[in-house]
């Protein structure tokens, strides 16, 4: 795993741990996805999605968030 991917995984897990701490996993995943969508570059999102698709491990809420991001980013690229 490259250092960059390592950092992205760490950041995503940390966001999930903090962004809606103590709340239902669905809410945590939704807020995590929103945060990543708002502050990460498309390349960073893509790298993490690729890592996940290749079976990389992330926190459960991040996995849900990435699935949601995968959909929205795919839809966006379809329409662009």
């Amino acid at each position: 795993m490259s250092r960059q991917i390592e950092q992205l995984v760490k950041m995503a897990n940390q966001i999930a741990l903090n962004v809606a701490a103590g709340q239902d996993e669905v809410i945590v995943a939704r807020e995590t996805a929103a945060h990543i969508r708002k502050f990460w570059t498309p390349a960073m999102r893509r790298q993490l999605l690729d890592f996940r698709r290749a079976g990389g491990a992330v926190a459960p809420a991040v996995a849900i968030a990435l699935a949601a991001l995968d959909n929205t980013d795919s839809n966006r690229s379809d329409t662009q």
Binding site: R3, Q4, M11, N18, V19, A21, G22, W40, T41, A43
Partner: protein, 949 residues
């Protein structure tokens, strides 16, 4: 504003706090002034100057010199006009034959013990004693110099910036009172009695050996040449002045740059400056010599590799070379392979242009600013909770505060002029809570003692803040009315259930926080019930893995207790550098445009697209740490770094250096060859704050003018360089003056709509928002409603940092700043300020030192999980057992070789304040330091051999 040199106007005594108007007659003129005004000040208001020596309007009246005597109908004798308050119907005479005789006699006595060397005196023509003697018509001194006198009293030249010549002292106590009232250090005193009375620093020490902090307040207050700046002794009286704004910390003091020709001979704190009201610190007041230091680089330079010598080139060549290399990188590696870092040391106009160049010229949003590594959590946290990424108050608001909460901030070192304001309020009786792992000066200072010092374990800020909120809620001390009227009720209910949970009780969190639960409870009660409560916080809050959470917890506390939206209260982020607020305001973060508007907002984007005639990328760009990670992976290859020294200031130095070394083209624009520039391929010489026009925005949202007082050493102001680069890259810019850049900012940014250079000239400074709804600006925010509408209580769960002490790394290192040095020290290390702090040291508690056999002055290795360095130990009880502390002002210290990549979850602000380390005695520098010295020598050599090419 250019003006011939004139001493600043002095009303004699301070302005009275607005009271009922009182009418009186002075020399036949009817004047109306507020109750509590002195007769001396009332006279000045009426256009009558009463002679005086011991009075000045920055200090309380003292009544010792007996020169300001007046006659008042119905009053016996000749009262001192400085200590006599006006009364309705008073009839005052300031000029009578009897008064003239009395004053002349007094003056004669003063002069009988004063050297008559006016023609060779450094303050000749700028001396109140000389002026007053003239005003009083003193023509002879009858007593001669044969008797005892002080004419041969010794000079104290220990301070590098000013001398104390006791022979010229009239013992008026203005210096002593300035040290007490203005600065709050109490380093000076009058020792002895009667004829033996003399000014003494500390316990009859030299100024340098005493507790004097060299703020210069005593020098400014001195009415003679007794305390005089060395620069004035060397150069003489200035001949013109320009009002400008300090380029050091986020207080943003206004100064008069006093000049002789193009040489700055003195920086005098400007009495009309609203941030500083005539006060200054050792940096702004004296440490301006770096601007003309021989290390300044005056020519653009380029090189293909960092192992090659620099080639001195023309501006045109340097700009063309940069543009060509950036475009080549983009062609080969894609549009997003380059980016820029702007600096909070630069002006609003400069950072605005850099982000415009990136968005409109580079065609991406890879723009970030050094605020990433300091106050980005403030932006996130305050925007989320209150709706605006800025502090809520003016500095002057603290005068109405009853309870001050200082958290993770060390105002007397890092924001000294505000620190003096704060100390004044504390001496007046305001209560104080300090939350800090370290015993900062405010915990126990002359005439100040914190009511509570909660020595929190590094990393546990959120736990402490939650525990305080828990106590307030569980004891029913919150302000229900404020919350009901001003805050989102549904979210508050949600938060209330969260914070009431027993897991937030101080007793439950004691192990994490390290704070005794009873102290925390008492502090919370004081904060909630002690009257107007204001929170001042700094990087000790933001530079954590939960920095943003802590900022939101702070905002929660303020809303919970109704302490927001009026004088004396509020949430006040103490910004580190001069223009942190401004650089954030100007759209320097990769996800938002000026005015904190997200790129995804089509309406905002369209506004800028029309103005700039481009199509903007709606996606966020890379943050600084993302850029470095991508550089190491070969995806990010070109960086334009303006005014920032990431190789020294950013965490995990070895990682940063590797990333910089991996770049194909690093362009550094700076006034010195800083640590980052040693990795650069292009060096664009920058201009100091004295060499350009623009504006800075301080921690209280105050936009202040920066005015050019000398020509740019390298021929161009920084904004001109960015403009040239933009034009070379096909992004047309044609500003003739920074005022035109501000006009564009104002057109595009609602909170700046009313800002212009003309308005700044008119008002002196403006606190944004400034627009049709607030034409003169906004001193206090969120008065009737929050910017976001209803205040939002964010849930702030405490999540412990991953960076923990263990058996291998048993101590927690936290970092900070010291008064005499500034940030990476590039400026202050090139001044005499290094007399006070020539090296960074490691503070270690006596118990931890003893355990390791470490004594004060020993070299110690500091090893963290990412690196190690060697510092000299300073054994101190300012830190508690288990905690060590250092500063990062000297590159060779390698403080950031130890700090890690951990960062705030929301913003990636580095976790500088928590690093697990081990400390042990060593005898030689670390391997990194040895390599660094070698690298530095090599780069200095390459600089020295730079030649036209």
């Amino acid at each position: 504003m250019l003006q011939f040199y004139e001493p600043q106007q002095d009303y004699g005594t301070p302005e009275a706090v607005a009271g009922a108007p009182v009418q009186l007659s002075i020399d036949g003129r009817i004047v109306s002034v507020p109750e509590g005004t002195s007769v001396m000040r009332a006279a000045f208001e009426a256009g009558v100057k009463v002679p005086r020596l011991c009075a000045t309007d920055s200090l309380q009246a003292f009544g010792s010199c007996r020169v300001c005597l007046v006659e008042i109908d119905g009053m016996k004798g000749y009262p001192a006009s400085c200590t006599t308050a006006v009364q309705a119907g008073m009839v005052v005479r300031t000029q009578t034959d009897q008064l003239a005789r009395l004053r002349r006699n007094v003056m004669e006595l003063y002069i009988s013990d004063h050297p008559l060397d006016c023609l060779t005196c450094p303050t000749n023509g700028d001396c109140e004693l000389q002026d007053t003697a003239g005003e009083l018509g003193l023509r002879e001194v009858r007593y001669g110099f044969a008797g005892a006198n002080h004419l041969h009293a010794p000079k104290d030249t220990s301070n590098p910036y000013f001398t104390f010549d006791a022979s010229k002292c009239i013992v008026c106590s203005r210096c002593v009172r300035a040290c007490e009232e203005t600065q709050g250090t109490f380093a000076l005193t009058i020792q002895g009695r009667g004829f033996e009375s003399s000014v003494s620093a500390g316990q009859d020490e030299s100024f340098m050996d005493s507790e004097c902090v060299s703020c210069g307040a005593c020098v400014k207050a001195c009415p003679t040449a007794s305390l005089t700046e060395v620069s004035i002794i060397e150069h003489g009286k200035p001949e013109h002045s320009v009002v400008t704004t300090c380029a050091y910390c986020g207080v943003g003091c206004a100064f008069r740059a006093d000049l002789k020709g193009a040489t700055v001979v003195r920086m005098t704190p400007h009495n009309d400056g609203k941030a500083n009201e005539g006060h200054a610190c050792v940096k702004g007041r004296f440490a301006f010599g770096y601007a003309t230091h021989s290390d300044r680089i005056a020519s653009p330079m380029i090189r293909d590799s960092i192992d090659e010598p620099w080639r001195l080139v023309t501006w045109d060549e340097a700009i063309a070379y940069t543009a060509a290399r950036f475009r080549a990188i983009q062609q080969q590696h894609g549009r997003n392979s380059i980016g820029a870092i702007s600096s909070s040391r630069c002006t609003n106009e400069e950072v605005y242009l850099v982000q415009k160049l990136v968005r409109a010229g580079f065609g991406n949003n890879n723009i970030d600013t050094c605020a990433r590594v300091c106050h980005s959590p403030t932006g996130y946290g305050l925007k989320t909770t209150l709706g605006e990424s800025a502090g809520t108050q003016a500095f002057a608001s603290v005068a109405q505060t009853d309870v001050v909460l200082v958290m993770g901030s060390n105002p007397t070192e890092a924001h000294p002029v505000f620190g003096s304001r704060l100390k004044k309020r504390l001496r007046e009786g305001a209560r104080l809570i300090v939350i800090d792992p370290r015993g900062i000066e405010l915990v126990d200072a002359p005439h100040i003692r914190a009511d509570y010092h909660l020595a929190v374990n590094p990393g546990a800020n959120v736990a402490v803040l939650n525990a305080m909120a828990h106590v307030i809620v569980s004891e029913g001390l919150h302000d229900e009315t404020f919350i009901r009227e001003r805050c989102d009720s549904e979210q508050f209910a949600h938060w209330l259930a969260f914070i009431r949970d027993p897991r937030h009780a101080p007793e439950q969190l004691e192990t994490d926080t390290g704070v005794a639960s009873h102290l925390l409870r008492e502090a919370a009660r004081l904060f909630a019930t002690g009257g107007n409560a204001a929170i001042y916080y700094g990087l000790g809050v933001t530079e954590h893995s939960q920095g943003s959470t802590a900022v939101m917890a702070i905002a929660n506390l303020a809303m919970l207790t109704g302490n927001i939206g009026r004088e004396g209260v509020g949430v006040n982020p103490m910004r580190g550098q001069n223009n942190v607020q401004g650089s954030c305001d100007m759209g320097s973060f990769p996800h938002e445009l000026p005015g904190y508007r997200h790129l995804s907002d089509t309406a905002t984007r369209t506004l800028f697209e029309r103005e700039w005639n481009v199509v903007l990328d709606p996606e966020p760009g890379m943050r600084i740490p993302n850029m470095f990670d991508a550089a190491l992976d070969g995806e990010f290859r070109g960086l334009y770094c303006q005014g920032e020294d990431v190789a020294q200031s950013d965490p995990n130095t070895q990682h940063i250096q590797a990333a910089l070394a991996a770049l194909d083209c690093l362009v550094v624009q700076d006034i010195f060859l800083n640590e980052t520039a040693k990795f650069a391929h292009v060096f664009l010489p920058g201009s100091s704050f004295l060499e350009k026009n623009g504006t800075f925005t301080n921690a209280e949202r105050r936009i202040s003018p920066v005015r050019k007082v000398m020509q740019a050493l390298a021929g161009k102001e920084d904004w001109e360089v960015t403009q040239d680069l933009a034009n070379a890259m096909g992004c047309p810019m044609s500003y003739a003056h920074p005022s035109e850049i501000m006009d564009e900012i104002a057109r595009l940014t609602p909170t700046f709509h009313g800002v212009s250079y003309a308005r700044l000239d008119e008002l002196g400074s403006i606190q944004w928002p400034c627009n049709d709804r607030a034409r003169d600006g906004t001193p206090i925010m969120h008065v009737d409603e929050f910017v976001r509408g209803k205040g939002f209580f964010a849930l702030t769960e405490y999540v412990a940092t991953e960076e923990r002490a263990n058996r291998r790394f048993p101590l927690l290192l936290t970092t900070g700043r010291i008064l005499s040095q500034y940030n990476v020290g590039a400026q202050t290390r090139r001044t005499a300020n290094s007399s006070w702090h020539g090296e960074d040291t490691l503070e270690i508690h006596p118990h931890d030192a003893e355990e390791r056999g470490v004594k004060g002055g020993d070299w110690v290795g500091v090893q963290s999980r990412v690196g190690n360095t060697v510092l000299r130990a300073q054994v101190s009880e300012r830190v508690k057992p288990g905690v060590v502390y250092t500063t990062f002002h000297h590159p060779v210290s390698g403080a950031n070789v130890i700090t890690t990549d951990n960062s705030d979850w929301a913003t990636n602000c580095p976790e500088y304040k928590v690093t697990a380390v081990q400390v042990s005695r060593v005898t030689e520098p670390s391997a990194w330091q040895a390599r660094q010295r070698q690298f530095d020598r090599r780069q200095q050599k390459l600089l020295e051999t730079a030649a036209p090419g």
